[in-house]
């Protein structure tokens, strides 16, 4: 799909628990990092694509970053909000801009100042939704936050395919294995089954250790035409596709099935000319442990009803047949909405993942989701153009 444009720079900043985040400052910091890796000055950027994130923070990025960030005259400036798929969609857009000659160096940037000292992450996310429409009715019934929706989704999946706490534990413990090898991960100690089962239930069947770990932080990539003297290997976009299935609150059709996920995945792979066997690793947007189970089966990477056992057998872990979420994912690593899987895929493909490096990683699929498994975006990223 893209022989010329590539991800040439990556920036990442994660706040510590006592840091007071500032979305714009973090954004400029990571854009600067990404530009240095790409071998350009921040003033060389002529495209700025802002990942709008309206999850919970009042302090979020907007188009105003062009002004507050001191950017010059840009040839492309826009912000997009497509829930958890946004960053993946914007990476594709950045590649298209550079490929078309409409910009030379495009930054895609995300910043989230959601977590501030003294405010528990779970409580912050439970306030999502507001008082209007269906969300208002749901709040009046005590349905609070994404975890309640994903708990219903998990119940629906288990009813259809079978599943248990052991399946969820298999995902959580595998991702903890990866996290133990990632110095940036927020939970790095091995996860015993007893510890998992002692973790408080939030909404059955999901426990606290089934939930992502929100952080405040920022990430950026720069997309350019690679230079011969680049300090880091370029990562190419070999295929990409999206699907959005409107989630209706009436029959027919399920409220919870991930319709469109496989179509997006297969279309992106077809563009890349890859079979599923060609994949060296997969990075799945994992707000909760049940999501990798659902998506691996939906995408045809694992037989239906077998994902939990597949995880338990070590297939997704270090040295496994198909490494998944190799930085610990958003559950044991860190949750930056939609960005975490892209950052990890780029890190692996560059060969800079340290102790968790997947040997010979050349082809990675990023499987992003939005909303309640209703938006789907796949990026096929590779070291070969």
């Amino acid at each position: 799909m893209s022989a010329a444009a590539a991800i040439t720079g990556l920036g990442l900043h994660l706040c510590g628990p006592s840091d007071v985040p500032d979305a714009a400052r973090m954004a400029i910091e990571v854009v600067g990092q990404a530009c240095r890796e790409a071998g350009i000055d921040i003033a060389d950027l002529d495209g700025l694509l802002v990942n709008r994130n309206e999850l919970i923070a009042d302090d979020h990025l907007s188009l105003d970053l062009a002004r507050t960030g001191g950017f010059g005259r840009l040839r492309a400036l826009y912000e997009l909000e497509s829930k958890g798929t946004t960053f993946a969609v914007l990476v594709e857009q950045a590649v298209r801009l550079v490929e078309a000659g409409r910009a030379r160096h495009v930054a895609v940037v995300f910043a989230d100042a959601a977590i501030v000292p003294g405010r528990p992450a779970g409580a912050a996310f439970a306030s999502m939704g507001g008082d209007e429409g269906y969300r208002g009715l749901e709040r009046a019934n005590g349905m609070l936050g994404a975890v309640a929706a994903y708990a219903l989704l998990a119940d629906s999946f288990f009813a259809e395919r079978g599943g248990s706490a052991d399946d969820l534990y298999a995902v959580a413990s595998t991702q903890r294995q990866w996290a133990s090898l990632n110095p940036l991960a927020r939970a790095r100690s091995p996860l015993a089954r007893e510890e998992y089962l002692e973790s408080p239930l939030v909404a059955t069947p999901l426990r606290r250790l089934d939930c992502a770990r929100p952080v405040s932080g920022a990430a950026a990539v720069v997309v350019s035409r690679p230079r011969g003297d680049a300090s880091v290997p370029p990562v190419h976009l070999c295929g990409s596709a999206q699907r959005y299935a409107a989630r209706r609150r009436h029959a027919p059709g399920s409220t919870w099935r991930p319709d469109g996920a496989k179509d997006a995945f297969d279309e992106a792979r077809d563009q890349a000319g890859w079979s599923t066997a060609d994949l060296d690793l997969v990075q799945i947007y994992d707000p909760f442990t049940v999501v990798p189970l659902i998506l691996l089966e939906e995408l045809g990477l694992v037989d239906q009803g077998k994902a939990g056992a597949w995880y338990a057998d070590g297939n997704a872990g270090p040295g496994g047949a198909l490494p998944v979420n190799t930085g610990g994912g958003q559950i044991s690593g860190f949750y930056l909405q939609g960005v975490t899987p892209v950052v990890e895929a780029v890190t692996q493909l560059r060969g800079t993942a340290g102790d968790r490096q997947v040997d010979g990683a050349r082809r990675a699929a990023v499987v992003a989701i939005g909303g309640r498994l209703e938006g789907h975006a796949t990026l096929c990223l590779g070291t070969d153009s």
């Binding site: 709040r139 009046a140 005590g142 609070l144 708990a151 219903l152 059955t204 029959a251």
Partner: protein, 160 residues
């Protein structure tokens, strides 16, 4: 369906008044009906298919006119969870409580908690009825399971 008691006479067992839903569109007409003890939901005026409360164009025929119709407050459970996190900003209960996604016989789906504190956790596929309770001055639907149903699981005991 019987209207719930006036707000001043009743404290919901589950949620606090701050959990009240907005009465602005798209809930205004829906809550106007529940004020009268009725459950009324939108259907396409052209093809008659069910529509979401906030849907402005029918996905089946493309028509842009919906009409609210009174429906029977009965359906079946399609998914269940028990909420263990008790967010005191909105929840008065001090013990885990069940939530059920109910597909009404009309085809519309709503996520509801139980009408009563001591209700048993429903199971997927079970028939339930909807009743109305008052939350901050608005009547909102809750599920009621048939009294003869046997269940294996119950939420932890009611709050003292």
């Amino acid at each position: 369906m019987t209207p719930g008691p006036a707000p001043s006479e009743h404290q919901d067992w589950l949620t606090v008044p701050a959990a009240r839903p907005s009465r602005r569109a798209p809930l205004g007409a829906f809550l106007g009906a529940t004020d009268l003890g009725e459950l009324a939901v939108p259907f396409c005026r052209h093809c008659g298919k069910p529509m979401d409360l906030d849907q402005v164009r029918c996905a089946d025929c493309g028509a842009t006119e919906a009409e609210l119709r009174r429906i029977a407050p009965a359906g079946r459970v399609v998914a269940v969870t028990v909420m263990h996190r008790l967010d005191q900003r909105y929840v008065a209960a001090r013990a885990p409580y069940a939530l059920a996604e109910v597909e009404l016989d009309s085809g519309h789906r709503l996520v509801c908690a139980a009408e009563r504190r001591d209700a048993q956790v429903p199971v997927t596929g079970e028939r339930v009825e909807l009743r109305l309770v008052q939350v901050g001055g608005s009547a909102v639907p809750r599920f009621r399971t048939p009294p003869e149903t046997d269940h294996d699981e119950q939420p932890e005991g009611p709050a003292s």
